[in-house]
Amino acid sequence: MAITSINQTRSGDMVLVTALSDLAGARFYWYFDGAYVGATGGGARGFALSPGEQARVAVLDSVDPAFDPIADGPIGYPGRVTLEWVRPIGTEDIAWYLVEQRKNGGAYVTLARVRHRPGRWSYRYTTGRLDDLANYVWRITPIDAVGNLSPDPVINASRLIVRWPDAPAFAAAYDAISDRVIVEAA
């Protein structure tokens, strides 16, 4: 592993992260908020971030053809979940999939509508950043062309999100006398 530098450039909602390696022919393995998101032959990858959003990006380089990006990857505490579902069998009248999420027993909130594509077997959707120690439930429901929801969701998934280590608790306050920001343990 010999990444020599990492730089980032932001353009709108996209952040381009560029890594340089002194390994000839290295492949780069990318981790976004602790989750493996893919490999590239070159040391650059873009990440979409909402205004004000921050994320942690990790990258590994390797020339080992047997490198396993999950088994050999860094320990991560993913703050996002990728949902995967397979098209319903025996139901042809599908136009969309409604992706919903609820947190800690609250009301369902719509995350997205994913278009159904005939001939496509499976779909994926990655959530936004999730809160630590919160219980989430996701429901994905087929919708027909006129907007009727299927009574049978294709996914009912739940997960307790645990992100660790916890950030240190601290408080920051501006001190006008010293003209400094004082950071203290909360």
């Binding site: 396993d68 320990i75 120690l133 660790w164």
Partner: protein, 281 residues
């Protein structure tokens, strides 16, 4: 009897120790042996034949003929105990090879987290699990013990995990393998599968299955929720030994985690629990 005949459940729901992402057209993954992962495996469809290569393995397993819609068990080419159970819809099958990403699941048995105040004061938590025989042959004996405990864990985690069993080889035993398992925010647990001796007299074979468990500083298992033990060997004097288990029936396993006062949290600790069963077939 196939290894997947033993299934651990929390209430009525199977406990899942690995999360998967990825498939090929016509195939839905239903379960993955904890022994597989984590890592990147591969599914391959050629005609109506489907094969599985576990993460880190050097070869696809023997292709399974899936010409009819149904559920099949695919086995890795190097270690057949690394299996994948899939449901196949033949009308949608098409030749393809795709990666399957397997990741550890945490918090899959502990459905809630402990409050900081409870941890600071110390607490005890007991979870009730069921060991089901989902196969088609009665089991003669089921044993449960603790193994592979991670002494460095600062805290125990319950956890649970579980999964399905795998069949031990009908020859000499081999070493245990890890099976990641999930736990709650305060701790974590892992399960490791044990492989051990196998043949029992009379043609019976011994099977080893992952069970969820909570381990750590003070973890005990019990069959009656009264007397808890921490057996470290399959044939230890205090190993839990259950009697026959009919098809569709279950035994109850209690797992108790004791958290000392003042412990810190670690959502990714791992711990093991081991089980075995024998059956005549």
């Amino acid at each position: 009897m196939a290894a997947e005949a033993l299934q651990l459940r929390l209430a009525t729901l199977p406990v899942v120790s690995l999360a998967w992402l990825g498939t090929v057209p016509g195939v839905v993954i239903a379960a993955a042996a904890g022994l597989n992962g984590p890592g990147v495996g591969r599914l391959r469809v050629s005609g109506a034949s489907i094969a599985w290569q576990a993460p880190g393995s050097g070869a696809f397993g023997v292709a399974v003929d899936a010409a009819v819609d149904g559920t099949y068990v695919l086995r890795d080419g190097v270690d057949p105990d690394k299996w994948l159970q899939v449901t196949v819809f033949t009308a949608f099958l098409s030749d393809a090879t795709a990666p399957v990403y397997l990741e550890e699941v945490y918090g899959n048995v502990m459905v809630s987290d402990f409050a900081a105040a409870a941890v600071a004061a110390g607490t005890v938590n007991t979870v009730t699990l069921r060991i089901y025989n989902v196969g088609d042959v009665a089991m003669e004996e089921v044993r449960v013990w603790l193994g592979g405990l991670d002494a460095e864990l600062p805290i125990s985690g319950l956890a649970g995990v579980a999964g399905r069993c795998r069949r031990a080889e009908p020859s000499n035993g081999r070493g245990g393998r890890g099976l990641p398992v999930g736990t709650s925010g305060l701790s974590a647990g892992v399960i490791k599968l044990g492989r051990g001796p196998t043949r029992i007299g009379g043609g019976a074979r011994r099977h080893y299955c992952p069970l969820p468990a909570a381990l750590g500083y003070a973890v005990g298992i019990s069959s009656d929720n009264v007397s808890f033990y921490a057996p470290r060997e399959e044939f230890a004097a205090d190993a839990l030994v259950y009697g026959p288990l009919a098809v569709g029936a279950y035994h109850t396993l209690y797992v108790r985690r004791s958290i000392p006062a003042g412990m810190s949290a670690d959502p990714r600790g791992r711990t093991d629990i081991r089980t075995s069963f024998s059956s005549l077939y």
